[in-house]
Amino acid sequence: MSFDYGDFSYASKDEMLEKSREFWNPGKTDFWVDAGVPLVIDRREEYYLYDMSGKRLLDVHLNGGTYNLGHRNPEVVHAVTAATAHFDIGNHHFPSLARTALAEALVTSAPPGITKVVYGSGGGEAIDIAIKTARHTTRKRKVVSILKAYHGHTGLAVATGDDRFSKLFLADRPEEFPHVPFNDLNAMEDALRGRDVAAVLIETIPATYGFPLPDPGYLETVKALCERYDALYIADEVQTGLMRTGELWAVNKHGIAPDILVTGKGISGGMYPLSAVLVNERSAGWLTEDGFGHISTFGGAELGCIAGLKALEICNRAETRSMVHYISDQIGRGLREIQAQFPDWFVGIRQHGVVMGLEFAHPQGAKLVMRSLYENGVWAIFSTLDPRVLQFKPGILMRPQLCEDLLDRTAVAIDQARSALPRTVRHDPLRSRTAVSA
């Protein structure tokens, strides 16, 4: 079998992997092969991915919500394809047709107080923009984030995240970027008390940490603390936004009006890179003072904005909202049934809408389940910063039959992963030892 993609081709999957190691990224390439997920994504459609081998996978990783609306969603594909007859990336210096239209749509559907939109081309850049905006607004430098948070790998964003990535490039700056444990209000207040903090940057449910859920009232109190100590509240909704919790933005469900809201990934339906920073009037000052303050050639590329308009419209439909409620109910129920079969192995379900983290009683449990899910035709990713927890992220337009199929496969895979464990591990409940800091 040879693989011909028009302007390039490979003789075999092995050859492809070899070249991937040689010309691209040997570390990543080997990691997945070693992890038992030798996936090279070829064809993609709806919520399905096909490996080069032809193996089909039901995608519940969705690249963190990038494929919220499915792969190559026909409506988004059509919007972008049609737009290429008229638009390109555009010129970032000028007022732009598509950018303005999307900005208006974003502001109209945003939490209260949001008045303007700044664009980037990826989530990390958007986080950088949010941090720069907060610093400009408050004239303060410190940004508090959550221990083991993940907000991207650009210059400022990487410093808000786990040491593993900042230290690698000597980008850790603990004095400017203090980290506090999630769900720990005392630690948060201690960090803010000095009134020298520009902003708290926080994901509504921290994805890469395995979606630990905020304790009831936690985020609301953080927002109140921000107000008390004059820090801005930056909501990172890159993974939790776009209807995944059953409302457009997860902060809506907490009644929080953030000063700044960051979106990326799914905002452009997986068809064109785009990210956006939604700011309130207080934070929007630099856009008047020096509109060229943040420059990015591809930021708010017009084709991306057109994809974004369509994706946002789909997310905002009453039908979509209702479907998310059905999907999260069905999958939640199904997972609880599975959990009841293996209560000492499948030890927890963190769920808010279709944002889900599945906890297993083994320090690397999610990696084991990921591998066995892969064997059973499902692609879900472990949480890099807490590998006990599997990120389980069904799409918001899943068909009922697809949900059933997903649950059937998941039940088998969880059982198989458990059977593959060494007996000693299986009988040693690791629950307490590995519980998340909370």
Partner: protein, 515 residues
């Protein structure tokens, strides 16, 4: 859907309605009978209370029909339907101990309902109620001429259903129907059955869609009045029926076939009830107006007799409700022998009942196969000969066709969709009723006497929902969800009062059709 398909505006979202309807129908298919009844009752209350509102709106929007009569139809298609099926259960398993078979209901799933411009809101009421009684989800695609009143009505009914505990998305409606959109919905595999009411092309398209469909053919209703008929009663029934909503129901009488020996007397009776017999030149002018170039002018659908007369420059007495248009031969090239959805009634005199039956058969050869016919006679021999000869699937006897064949005033199933059977190119031979929207899984035990079928009494797959469906998603660490219980309806209307209401509606109907 392939990537090269570029879909017309509105189509992708309409497809999503089917998807949501699929979710809703799955949830609804598990509901218990008490909840289904409560939902239907809640919907009927809203439908009833808005009967006048939508009757008025429908006439305003379409220009067809008579407000008072549409009110009656709206009531018949809401409270009337619920009453008719009050004792039917399409939800609980049926146990046939003697046959060692248990039947488990399996709702169709997602119904795509095309509704006509002639009986717009009443058909929306009817189809929505049928869907709800049988635990199906429904997506309504109204006729473009009546889209506003229908969309509003469907939405109101849907809201009432959900408020009474039905799953969200169980009733949806397309706001901007278009040909490509309807075609997309009809051929979409998420549509489980199409209920097509409308013109022949729509029905044919439904059958051509590749999906299960129930569509019916047009009518062309002959009414035979023989020498044995009670002429006074027959005349009243006939004029009332022909005048009802200005002949907009497809069960309205198209051509009167009357035995010569009683013809003059019968015509005088008709005139007393509000018919006007056209003179030959007047008849010719009316024919030209109603069938310009030999084809029915659809702009005259449901117009008043006086409007049509005026257009043909015919002066009629002020209380004229229908026009009688005499002609000689029931042949294809005679336009007046064809279906007329307006208060113009063809008139053919025949020497005897035998010729009358032949004439009725001839009329049905021109159109209306499988649909309806009417006879006024007291001779069972003639009734049987007529029924056996005419190629229709219902014959109303000594009753008006409009309402009688549609199951109002007879014991036929009350319906806005009249099956025309195989002769009428339809999969349905009866009046559409709830039972047509459910299949039954048959659980069959061995006939071996050694095999004893256990009792299934008290074993129920269906259950009452405990919270809104779907439940609003909350974080899993938020503690046990507080169940927002489905609100109870106000007290059920007691049976006597219901009987009373039913009687009032019937009286109202009678009074109104009498003019």
């Amino acid at each position: 859907m392939s990537e090269t398909t570029v879909e017309a505006v509105g189509v992708p979202r309409a497809r999503q309605m089917l998807e949501l309807a699929g979710w809703a129908s799955r949830a609804y298919a598990r509901y218990d009978s008490a909840t289904v009844q409560r939902i239907a009752e809640a919907v009927v209350r809203v439908a009833e209370s808005k009967a006048e509102h939508y009757a008025d709106w429908a006439v305003r929007e379409t220009g067809f029909g008579v407000v008072e009569h549409k009110i009656v139809k709206n009531k018949l298609c809401s409270r009337g339907i619920l009453d008719a099926y009050r004792d039917s259960d399409y939800v609980s398993p049926r146990i046939h101990a003697e046959r060692k078979i248990v039947e488990v209901p399996r709702p169709a799933g997602v119904i795509l309902a095309l509704t006509p411009s002639t009986n717009p809101v009443s058909t929306v009421y009817f189809k929505v109620l049928l869907a709800l009684l049988t635990r199906n989800a429904i997506v309504v695609s109204p006729h473009p001429f009546a889209k506003e009143c229908c969309a509003d009505a469907a939405r109101e009914l849907g809201k009432a259903a959900v408020a009474a505990g039905a799953p969200d998305g169980v009733v949806q409606v397309v706001d901007e129907p278009s040909i490509p959109l309807i075609d997309a919905l009809m051929t979409d595999e998420r549509t489980n059955v199409i209920l097509a009411t409308g013109g022949v092309p729509v029905v044919r398209a439904a059958y051509g869609s590749g999906n299960p469909a129930i569509g019916v053919g047009p009518g062309n209703v002959p009414v035979l009045v023989d020498a044995t008929a009670d002429l006074h009663r027959a005349a009243t029934k006939l004029v009332d029926s022909k005048a009802f909503d200005n002949s907009i129901l497809c069960t309205n009488e198209s051509v009167l076939v009357v035995e010569e020996s009683v013809a003059d007397r019968f015509i005088r009776e008709l005139e007393r009830s509000g018919a006007y017999l056209l003179k030959d030149e007047e008849r010719d002018r009316v024919r030209d107006v109603v069938f310009p170039e030999g084809r029915f002018d659809t702009s005259l659908v449901g117009k008043d007799a006086s409007d049509i007369a005026a257009r043909a420059q015919v002066r009629t007495p002020s209380r004229t409700r229908i026009l009688l248009a005499p002609f000689d031969a029931a042949v294809d090239e005679e336009p007046l022998a064809h279906e007329k959805l307006c208060p113009v009634l063809g008139l053919v005199r025949v020497p005897n009942a035998q010729r009358g039956i032949r004439t009725a058969v001839a009329l049905l050869r021109l159109g209306g196969a499988g649909h309806s016919a009417v006879i006024h006679s007291t001779d069972p021999g003639t009734v049987m000969a007529y029924a056996a000869a005419v190629r229709v699937l219902r014959v109303a006897v000594n009753e008006g066709g409009s309402t009688g064949c549609a199951g109002f005033g007879t014991n036929l199933a009350p319906s806005m969709t009249i099956g025309t059977g195989f002769v009428g190119r339809s999969s349905l031979g009866e009046n559409l009723e709830p039972k047509h929207l459910v299949n039954w899984t048959q659980v069959a035990y061995s006939t071996d006497p050694a095999e004893v079928m256990p009792s299934f009494v008290g074993i129920h797959p269906e259950e009452a929902p405990l919270e809104p469906v779907p439940p609003y998603p909350v974080a899993s660490n938020a503690g046990a969800p507080t169940l927002t219980a489905v609100p109870d309806l106000p007290e059920e209307v007691p049976t006597e009062l219901r009987e009373e209401l039913r009687r009032l509606i019937l009286e109202e109907l009678t009074a109104i059709v009498r003019g």
